[in-house]
């Protein structure tokens, strides 16, 4: 089997001290067919560092002007020729198996166009000479791919990500208007088109100093206004269709006019909806034109002045483009997950099922359905009310509390954490054991079980799960916990062996997971 070319992109800006490590870790990959782009984003000269590697696979782009990370990434992507692309910040490092691991899974699983591994977040202290003293190595995030989570927030760190280069033809390049959360923006757009393959191996490290962090992403997040603006900008982004893995959502806002309360409702929709959508507002075009509407993803459906409420909805239904449709009556209460629970239910439902939103009532009927089902019902029974037409057309209108909803995993974890805080370790363990029966986030759950069993004093159970965990993927935390259990059971030589492994990881001497 030929090894496809992989493009590694390293944007750099004024980090001469750490760049040699980062670049060195890219050069020393056990996978040879790579091209490495080092893009100096108008910072201090690093040509001597790049030249010192004397490696023909390195392509150096020296920008005169500092134009930000997305610009650097796009510049390199324009020149990249690899089948796959991955990214490395100038102060982070890959382990030598990073590229080979991710290429391996993408080549073996061609349905996946993105893969990501786990990373250590390395807490360090900056010494007077600028070098970094490692204090901790923590797997901060190791979550199996979850599209709803990805729409809500990022769970794949940029350094851990590898994707097919041709995916960018569908998603578009990096958004150069964003100053922070650039990585989430692109990962979110990827999620419209593909599932992500999660490799639970730790294949890289990213660094975080205890001192004030100079990372642009950290500084940017401290400015809450700027942060929220970027989050909203990302959530409104809709790549060009067709989307292969996401159903588009049309929200039809059933209102007589856009003012006062209805403006407030629209604001609530914008603030609380992270699932990609277009809001359709059926009203006469001349009245729409009078509204200074600056909301993103909002479309007017032109209707005559005297048409009925149902006729307006029917017109919007015919014009909207989403595979899923939600009818949102004016005055409906909008809270977190108000619509995502419905889209999630539709994702997991049979044909002819539709879902009444939480807080919906006889007088304020809010419902989500497949567009084709809605059209069928309305075409067959245009004179009926919305609910009656759905029923008459043979659709089952279900309540959302009867079905699974997104973030249930997180809700259970939260509940278990609460139980832990209350000292009810037994209940916490029961919740974790329940979660362990599903196939999601197995290592994470096992880690939680070990911790809870340890705290509860169930050392035999703790040691059993801990062994399983450390056979599969030892981390500093899991080794340390295992050693503490051994100590409790008076197995001091066992504890010392585990602690030495943890020490080796912290010192970077040995990659024990390889």
């Amino acid at each position: 089997m030929t090894s496809p070319l992989v493009s590694i992109i390293i944007p750099t800006f004024n980090r001469r001290l750490y760049l040699p490590c980062a670049l060195g870790s890219a050069v020393k990959q056990d996978y040879e067919n790579i091209e490495i782009f080092v893009v100096n984003d108008g910072g201090e000269d690093v040509s001597d560092i790049v030249n010192s590697f004397d490696d023909p696979r390195i392509i150096f782009i020296n920008k005169e002007e500092n134009r930000g990370k997305p610009h650097s990434l796009n510049l390199a992507l324009a020149k990249a020729t690899g089948k796959y692309v991955c990214y490395l910040d100038d102060d982070d490092i890959y382990y030598s198996n990073h590229v080979s691991t991710l290429v391996g899974v993408l080549e073996s699983n061609p349905d996946y166009h993105v893969a990501y591994s786990d990373l250590y977040k390395v807490y360090c202290r900056i010494l007077p000479d600028g070098s970094r003293q490692v204090l901790s190595k923590v797997v901060e995030v190791s979550r199996d791919f979850d599209r709803y989570f990805m729409f809500y927030f990022n769970h794949c760190l940029h350094v851990s990500l590898m994707h097919r280069r041709d995916l960018l033809e569908k998603t578009g390049l990096y958004n150069e208007d964003l100053s922070i959360l650039v990585d989430w923006d692109i990962a979110r757009r990827f999620a419209f088109f593909t599932d992500f393959y999660h490799v639970e191996d730790i294949t890289a490290e990213f660094y975080s100093s205890l001192e004030d962090d100079d990372r642009i992403s950290i500084k940017g997040r401290k400015d809450l206004g700027k942060y929220k603006k970027n989050v909203l900008a990302i959530r409104k982004t809709r790549p060009t269709k067709p989307w292969y893995k996401t159903k588009d959502l049309s929200i039809i806002f059933d209102t007589d006019e856009v003012c006062g309360n209805s403006i407030n409702t629209i604001g609530q929709v914008v603030g609380h909806t992270f699932y990609p959508y277009i809001l359709y507002i059926p009203m006469p075009a001349h009245r729409w034109a009078q509204i200074n509407s600056n909301f993103a993803n909002m479309i007017n459906v032109d209707v005559a002045e005297q048409v009925s409420r149902l006729e307006k909805i029917d017109k919007a239904l015919n014009e909207c483009e989403g595979e899923y449709v939600v009818i949102l009556p004016d005055g409906f209460s909008i809270t977190d997950l108000w619509v995502e629970k419905a889209t999630y239910a539709l994702d997991n439902s049979c044909k002819n099922e539709c879902f009444e939103l939480e807080d919906s009532s006889e007088y304020c009927f809010a419902v989500a359905a497949r567009k084709e089902d809605f059209i069928k019902a309305r075409n067959q029974f245009p004179e009926y009310s919305l609910r009656d037409s759905l029923n008459a057309a043979g659709l089952t209108v279900k309540k959302l509390n009867e079905v699974a909803s997104p973030f249930e995993f997180d809700s259970y974890i939260h509940l278990a954490i609460q139980k832990e805080e209350d000292g009810d370790w037994k209940k916490a363990i029961e919740i974790y054991e329940y979660l362990a029966k599903s196939s999601q986030n197995q290592l994470w759950i096992k880690t939680c079980i070990v911790n809870a069993c340890f705290e509860a004093g169930y050392y035999n159970a703790a040691i059993k799960f801990s062994e399983e965990l450390n056979n599969k993927r030892p981390t500093v935390n899991t080794l340390l916990r295992h050693a503490k259990i051994c100590r409790k059971m008076n197995d001091y030589s066992g504890a010392i062996g585990l602690l030495k492994k943890a020490e080796q990881i912290l010192e970077g001497k040995e990659l024990i997971w390889m």
Binding site: L135, E140, V141, S142, F153, F407, D410, L480, R487, E503
Partner: protein, 209 residues
Amino acid sequence: MDVVKNEESNDSTQRYEVLMELGDCHATVGRYEPARQYYNKAASMSPDEAGPYVGLGVVALHENNLDDADIAFRVAYRLNNSCSKAFAGMAMIHQQRGDYRGAFDLYLKCMELDPDNLTALLGLFQASCQMGTFSKIIHYLELYLKMHSADVSVMFSLSALYMKEGRLEESKKLLLNAVALDPSNQDAVNLLEEIEHKISQDMQLEVNA
């Protein structure tokens, strides 16, 4: 919305913790030299922490090097003047040097900071015996038993003190608990017999009177 963003906690003390654990494990199995090395490493990793100096002090105590132990515990105390283990360590040095009053006061300080510290509690008991005064220690033994209601060795010590104070019924009650928890504890069984005998003697005396 209930979303969990982080799997492992944002802990920046792992390396220190690993070094301390290594030091403690080596010290427990009597490998004092590697224990000392790990404690020294931990001290250089976190110079403001008292823990490594407590560890160094304990190792020096085990090696019967009282001067080094004294220095180490004093450094630990200077870094953290509410470090109960530093007080316990200093108390042990005083005790070994025959200064039972000094030891008693330091054990008391330790118990005030950490009523759960069994080493200090037993040290307090020993120092009391060495000085021949018991009244102050009963309170701490009672406090400890409230937290560790099944600790038979402390039950035994406390019941012995009750007996010395003439509180025979309390002593008997405690010993009955101790024997119920550990029927093989011959010291407790013997003391219980002795107390029951004494109680019946007292009752006899009362009847006769």
